[in-house]
C-alpha cells in the first residue's frame, strides 16, 4: 500500500501550486537542483524550469525580494533552511511584509516556510519553534499543521491567501508521519479540529505535540479518562470558539506547546479561556511547554526538554485529580 509522508505532502502542494498558477515561484537556499535541505522541493526545479531558484545565504534579501515580487503580482514561496535562521530576516517579515497591507492597502501574498521544531541532535539553532514570535505581530497568519493532510491543504491555502503566511512545518514529522492519501477536502484554515473527542479534560495543542498528546490520551483511556484533544492548526488566528466549546464540555484545560513558556501560544490560549470562559472552568487552566533554556543537543537532555507523552500524562493526571 502506497503512502505519503508529511514532507511529500508539502512537495506535492508546491508542485500543484506551481502547475496551477504561473505567479508562484520558490526561492530559498539549496531549493533548486538539490531539492532543498530536506528535499521538500525535490525535482521541482526540473519540472518547472526557472521557477525554483537558489538564493544566497541572505535571509533579509530573500524575504525582502519576496515582498517586492509580491507587490508586483507574484506569489512567492520562500523556504528558510531552518526556522531558526528566519530571525536573520525578521525585520523584513515583521516590519515590512506584515505592515504593507495596513500601511498601503496593497496585500503581500508571500508564504514563508519554516522547518520548525526539535529532532534528536538538532541543538539550539536547528530546533526552534518560532510561531509565537511571528504570531505576536499584527499582519501575519501563522500555520502549524500537525497532519499529513493539513500539511498539504493548509500549504495550498497559505499560497492562496493574500496575506503573509508563516508556515511552520515540523521537521520531526517530515519523514515520521505518513498518511494513506492526499486529502480531497479540508477544514478551512483558521478552524481548529477536534482530533479526539472526550469528556474529562480538554488538551489544546498543535504540530508535533498533537501526536504526543494523542499517545497520552490513549494511555489515559485505559485508566478510564476520556481526553478531548483540540488541534489548533493555525496559531494566528486561534479558533477560540472551538476551544471554549470544548472547555464547556470538559471544564478542564491543559495547553501543550513545544515553544517556550513566556508569552507563547499556550499562554495566549489560557489568557483567552480565563477571560472569556472563566465560568466554564472547574480547575485552574494549565500549560506545558519546553523548559526555559535553549534547546539542548544531546538526546538525553532533549528527551526531557520538550513535552512528551509521558510528561503530558503527568500534567493531565494532576489536572484531572485536582
Amino acid at each position: 500500500m502506497s503512502s505519503i509522508t508529511y514532507l511529500e505532502a508539502i512537495r506535492e502542494a508546491q508542485a500543484k501550486a506551481l502547475a496551477d498558477d504561473p505567479r508562484v515561484f520558490i526561492y530559498g537556499q539549496d531549493v533548486g537542483a538539490f531539492g532543498g535541505a530536506f528535499k521538500a522541493t525535490k525535482n521541482l526545479a526540473k519540472e518547472f524550469p526557472g521557477r525554483v531558484l537558489d538564493a544566497p545565504i541572505s535571509e533579509d534579501a530573500i524575504i525582502g525580494s519576496a515582498i517586492g515580487a509580491a507587490i508586483e503580482g507574484m506569489r512567492p514561496i520562500i523556504e528558510m533552511q531552518y526556522a531558526d535562521f528566519s530571525s536573520v530576516g525578521l525585520n523584513q517579515t515583521v516590519n515590512h511584509a506584515a505592515t504593507l497591507f495596513w500601511r498601503t492597502q496593497v496585500p503581500c501574498p508571500i508564504v514563508l516556510r519554516l522547518p520548525s521544531g526539535g529532532t534528536a541532535g538538532g541543538g539550539p539553532f536547528h530546533s526552534q519553534c518560532m510561531e509565537s514570535i511571528y504570531a505576536h505581530y499584527p499582519g501575519l497568519v501563522v500555520m502549524t499543521p500537525a497532519t499529513v493532510e493539513d500539511a498539504y491543504s493548509m500549504l495550498l491555502d497559505a499560497i492562496a491567501i493574500d496575506d503573509p503566511v508563516i508556515f511552520c512545518e515540523h521537521k520531526y514529522l517530515y519523514y515520521h508521519l505518513k498518511a494513506d492519501a492526499l486529502p480531497t477536502e479540508a477544514l478551512p484554515s483558521g478552524k481548529a479540529r477536534i482530533a479526539r473527542q472526550g469528556r474529562d479534560l480538554t488538551v489544546v495543542t498543535y504540530s508535533a505535540m498533537l501526536h504526543e498528546t494523542l499517545a497520552m490520551a490513549n494511555e489515559l483511556a485505559s485508566e478510564k479518562w476520556e481526553i478531548e484533544v483540540v488541534d489548533l492548526r493555525t496559531v494566528k488566528p486561534i479558533d477560540t470558539d472551538t476551544i471554549l466549546a470544548s472547555v464547556a464540555r470538559t471544564g478542564r484545560l491543559l495547553v501543550v506547546s513545544e515553544g517556550w513558556p513566556w508569552g507563547g501560544v499556550a499562554a495566549e490560549v489560557i489568557a483567552r479561556v480565563s477571560s472569556e470562559g472563566f465560568a466554564l472552568l472547574d480547575a485552574p487552566p494549565q500549560r506545558l511547554n519546553s523548559k526555559e533554556t535553549p534547546v539542548p543537543f544531546h538526546p538525553n537532555l532533549w528527551g526531557t526538554h520538550r513535552p512528551t507523552a509521558r510528561s503530558i500524562a503527568v500534567a493531565a493526571r494532576k489536572l484531572l485529580q485536582s
Binding site: F25, A61, S65, G68, A69, I71, E72, H96, F101, T104
Partner: protein
C-alpha cells in the same frame, strides 16, 4: 483609489539639454520650497512626528527620478522630496502625509517620508536602512518572471545606511541575479551625528561596487549637470542589461538629521569646502551663465512654486484627520482571519 503618481512616460534623450536642466531646477526648487514650508509648519507645532529634509541633496534626487518612467520601480529614502515630486507624486499628497490628512495616501497610518503608492511602482520606505534594496530587486525579479523587459528599479540610501547587513545582502543578491537595479548612495558626510570615519573604513564607498561585482559611479552631488550626466548613464546601463549600478554622490547634508536637530556637530571645514556647496543656487547660477534662464525667469518660477506650496499646505490643513472610531483596525487583507476584527 485615485492615482496620485504620474510618472514620466518618455525617457530623457539628452541629459545635458537646456530643457532637462530647467526641468530639473524647477523640481529642485519645488523640493526646497516645499520642505521649507514643512520645516516652518514643524516649528509652528503643526506637524506630528518628525520632518526630515533633503536640503543639499536635490540635484542628486531629481537626476535619478527624471531618468525613471512609468513601469519602473522607485523606492526613495528620507531626503528625496525633490525626486519624489519629479517621479510624479503630487505635492498635495506629500503635504497631506506630513500634515496627517485622512485623504493622504497613507491615511494617517504612516507619516512624513514613509509614503508611497506601490501600485504605481513608488514603494514606501520602511525605516530600517537597506531593506528597500532587496524589495526593489524582488520587484525586478517579478518583471523578469512576467517577461517585462526594459524596466529598472532604483533606491536611495545614505553613507550611514551602507553599514547595514541589509545593504550588503541586497547588493550582493542583486548582483548574483544581475538585475537592472540602481542604488544611489548620497554620501552627505553624516549619519545623524555620526561622521563617515565612524561609519566605514574603506577608501571610498564606490569601492564596494568592485566587491559586489557591479559597476560603480562617482559624482559630485553639488553639481546638477554632473548628476544629470552620471545618473542618466547609470540608469541607461542598467536598462541595457549591464546589471546593478552603484552611484556614490559626494555632498553635504545642509540641515539637521531632522528639524529637531540643530546639527551643531557638523564640521565647519566641511561646510566651507567644495562638498559643502548648495546645489540649488549653484544650479541657478549655471542656468544664468549658460543663458538658459534669466533672473526674471528664476523669480517667476520661485513665485509660482511658493504659491503652489502655500495652496497645498492650506488645502491639506483644512482636511479632516483620521477618526479612530471609523478605522477598521484590520491588518490583514483576509478579513475573516484577522483577530483584530474578532474581539
Amino acid at each position: 483609489m485615485t492615482p496620485s503618481v504620474e510618472p514620466l512616460t518618455e525617457l530623457i534623450t539628452d541629459s545635458l539639454s537646456r530643457e532637462q536642466h530647467i526641468a530639473a531646477y524647477r523640481w529642485m526648487l519645488l523640493g526646497r520650497i516645499s520642505e521649507e514650508k514643512y520645516a516652518s509648519l514643524y516649528r509652528g507645532g503643526k506637524i506630528f512626528g518628525g520632518v526630515f529634509i533633503g536640503k543639499g541633496q536635490e540635484a542628486l534626487s531629481v537626476s535619478l527620478a527624471m531618468n525613471l518612467r512609468k513601469g519602473d520601480i522607485y523606492a526613495p529614502l528620507i531626503r528625496d522630496q525633490a525626486g519624489r515630486l519629479a517621479f510624479g507624486e503630487s505635492l498635495l499628497d506629500a503635504t497631506r502625509t506630513y500634515l496627517g490628512s485622512r485623504l493622504g495616501p497613507m491615511r494617517g497610518r504612516e507619516g512624513n517620508v514613509h509614503r508611497g503608492n506601490p501600485r504605481a511602482g513608488y514603494f514606501p520606505m520602511i525605516s530600517h536602512l537597506g531593506a528597500m534594496i532587496p524589495t526593489v530587486s524582488g520587484a525586478l525579479m517579478a518583471h523578469r518572471f512576467k517577461g517585462i523587459s526594459g524596466s529598472v528599479g532604483a533606491t536611495c540610501i545614505g553613507d550611514g545606511g551602507t553599514s547595514t547587513g541589509a545593504f550588503h545582502e541586497g547588493l550582493n543578491q542583486a548582483a548574483v541575479e544581475k538585475l537592472p537595479l540602481i542604488v544611489v548612495v548620497a554620501n552627505n558626510q553624516y549619519a545623524y551625528s555620526t561622521p563617515t570615519d565612524r561609519s566605514f573604513a574603506c577608501r571610498d564607498l564606490v569601492d564596494k561596487a568592485v566587491g559586489y561585482g557591479i559597476a560603480g559611479h562617482s559624482v559630485d552631488g553639488t553639481n546638477l549637470s554632473a548628476c544629470l550626466e552620471v545618473l542618466t548613464k547609470a540608469v541607461k546601463a542598467a536598462r541595457e542589461g549591464e546589471g546593478p549600478q552603484l552611484v556614490v554622490a559626494s555632498l553635504l547634508r545642509l540641515g539637521g538629521h531632522g528639524e529637531h536637530d540643530d546639527a551643531n556637530y557638523i564640521s565647519n571645514d566641511l561646510k566651507k569646502s567644495e562638498v559643502g556647496r548648495d546645489c540649488l543656487p549653484l544650479a541657478a547660477d549655471f542656468l544664468l551663465d549658460q543663458g538658459w534662464a534669466t533672473g526674471a525667469d528664476l523669480a517667476i518660477w520661485r513665485e509660482e512654486i511658493v504659491k503652489q506650496v502655500e495652496d497645498a499646505a492650506a488645502t491639506a490643513q483644512r482636511e479632516p484627520h483620521p477618526n479612530p472610531d471609523e478605522e477598521d483596525w484590520c491588518a490583514l487583507a483576509t478579513r475573516h482571519l484577522s483577530e483584530g476584527t474578532n474581539p
